[in-house]
Symmetry: C2
Subunit: 330 residues, 2 copies
């Protein structure tokens, strides 16, 4: 073994791609080494680089054998998949918040416009051979002109800011719900419980771009939906558990002009399920895509590069970014 610190990579076998990192550390891939080899490796691991969801094979017992572990860098933007309760308090965990902002923010606009312009419902209708002028008029009347309308952004971090910036050309007023009051001069920032309700009440379209933590689990439920405009659009490119699915299903049934468009699905047994707990897929005012907002052309590029950069910050003794506040996840 070299004198370099030991980084164990999970969910990314192509270690040869990680040039910048391999110059600074000794790299191993959890996915390509035997259980026997893990036996001797785990106690020497200084850092974990988790490229996908937390691997199922890395449970409580194996974590406890990583006596030397000091730092965990995630490639994903959120930490909700990490078994924090098994990770000793001294280990620093960093998310890759912002690493996917560009692709995810563009995807949010894809879902928002598909909903506002009724593209999905019209296309499905034409392809099913069910074109009628009555249907065209009915749904056409629900088409939303964005100019002059209000866009609510729940969570004004990297993704939320990118969503707002992309939308400037559409001439929407932007209301952001955020813990941090700093924002561009043309963005109104709302805080606290009343602030959340104000954003929901005034918005014609709402994008959820807030991390899933114990403070945001079920954030959008019955009471929150009830203040929204009946023809509003709700876009979720964050985590499905932020919405209360049964409440949302009831709301969609009662308000056919309201649309929910989501790219995210609840976790079941540690993996994204691509199913909902309610029959969303039966509804015309539901649009679903299978978590593709961090598009593949960027998912092997930018996010990994940014995750590695943050890990290098730690290895060089600099202050890493996006350190997880454990109290938000336990």
């Amino acid at each position: 073994m070299s004198g370099k610190r030991v980084v164990l990579v999970t969910g990314h076998r192509a270690l040869g791609e990680l040039t910048a990192l391999s110059q600074q550390a000794e790299l191993h891939s959890l996915d390509t080494i035997s259980e026997a080899a893990q036996e001797s490796l785990l106690p020497s691991v200084d850092c974990l680089l988790v490229a996908g969801l937390w691997p199922e094979s890395l449970g409580k017992e194996k974590i406890s054998r990583m006596k030397n572990l000091k730092f965990i860098q995630l490639r994903l933007a959120g930490a909700n998949h990490v078994p924090i309760r098994y990770i000793p308090p001294g280990v620093v965990i960093c998310t890759n918040a912002g690493g996917f902002s560009l692709g995810v923010a563009e995807y949010a606009w894809g879902l928002l416009l598909a909903a506002a312009k009724r593209v999905v419902v019209f296309d499905a209708n034409l392809k099913a051979g069910q074109f009628t002028r009555e249907f065209r008029t009915k749904v056409g009347n629900e088409i939303m002109l964005l100019r002059g309308k209000t866009l609510g952004i729940i969570g004004y971090g990297g993704i939320g800011r990118a969503v707002a910036a992309m939308g400037r050309g559409f001439g929407m007023k932007v209301n952001a719900f955020s813990r941090h009051p700093e924002a561009e001069p043309d963005i109104a920032v709302f805080q606290g419980r009343e602030g959340l309700l104000d954003v929901l009440r005034t918005s014609d379209a709402v994008v959820i771009s807030i991390p899933l933590t114990n403070r945001t689990l079920g954030l959008i439920g019955d009471a929150e939906l009830s203040v929204m405009k009946p023809g509003a659009i709700l876009v979720n490119i964050a985590r499905e558990e932020i919405v209360d699915e049964p409440a949302l299903f009831k709301h969609l049934k009662a308000n056919p002009a309201f649309t929910y468009a989501t790219d995210v699905w609840r976790l079941t047994d540690g993996a994204e399920s691509f199913t909902a707990s309610v029959p969303f897929l039966e509804l015309e005012n539901f649009i679903g895509t299978p978590h593709v907002s961090g598009p593949s052309e960027s998912s092997t590029g930018d996010p990994m590069r940014l995750a590695v950069e943050n890990l290098l910050r730690y290895l060089k003794g600099e202050e890493p970014r996006n350190v997880v506040d454990r109290s938000e996840y336990t």
Copy 2:
């Protein structure tokens, strides 16, 4: 009869809404008066205000009875539906070019993003219960990140300019094909046959926003499609006859990563058919919507207001805008 000039309105019965116009002219609705009443009215008509497609009931014979006709104002942006050969050369015809720019440009972005982000194909797949991780990966790989890509705009008039302005936030380079070389400093303008091919060759997404005239009929055919990128997106919010449907169908079959998204359908017997001459609707890489890009919330507002403003310009002796060059339609 008053001394006011006589304006005959077609396709819009609610004359009471046209306050500004009724102060300047004597208004009649073709749709609410009997054939007998038309008999005496037609010779006195000074102006026509055509709110929808040219009415079938207003054929060669009735046009010939409007001996006093001097001015025709259309509420639609194009004149391709007007039977120009029956209209005496001295009659000025004005389109409402630009009247729908805002709604249509937003709709172009709706189609463009639905195609770039594969929203329609993913949603349809999930709703058909055919979710597989293989499909997700395959189609996910085709998701286009817009930032840094090139947007081609065929026809840089009111709609084309609005499309470019809305897209600034997405960070695309814009290449416009236009007869007029004037454009914002960050827009590259291309002209002539070679210019058209250059725009098509370099663009990742192309929006067709050019009027249908005898110069643009079948503008996008075999030769033009063959220079486009295999994974490009072609959006049509102008008129369907600008594309050669059989050539485009063949191109879509041969290039599954290429997408055609259209809101417009060819005219058949003077009415929009909402069908194609080829089985577009069978294709996963085709997206169709039933000409709803001038959304209803604006179609009774802005476009009519702008059409009336132009008609008032004529009535007041001012220079009207958007005068049709008949040589482009005959």
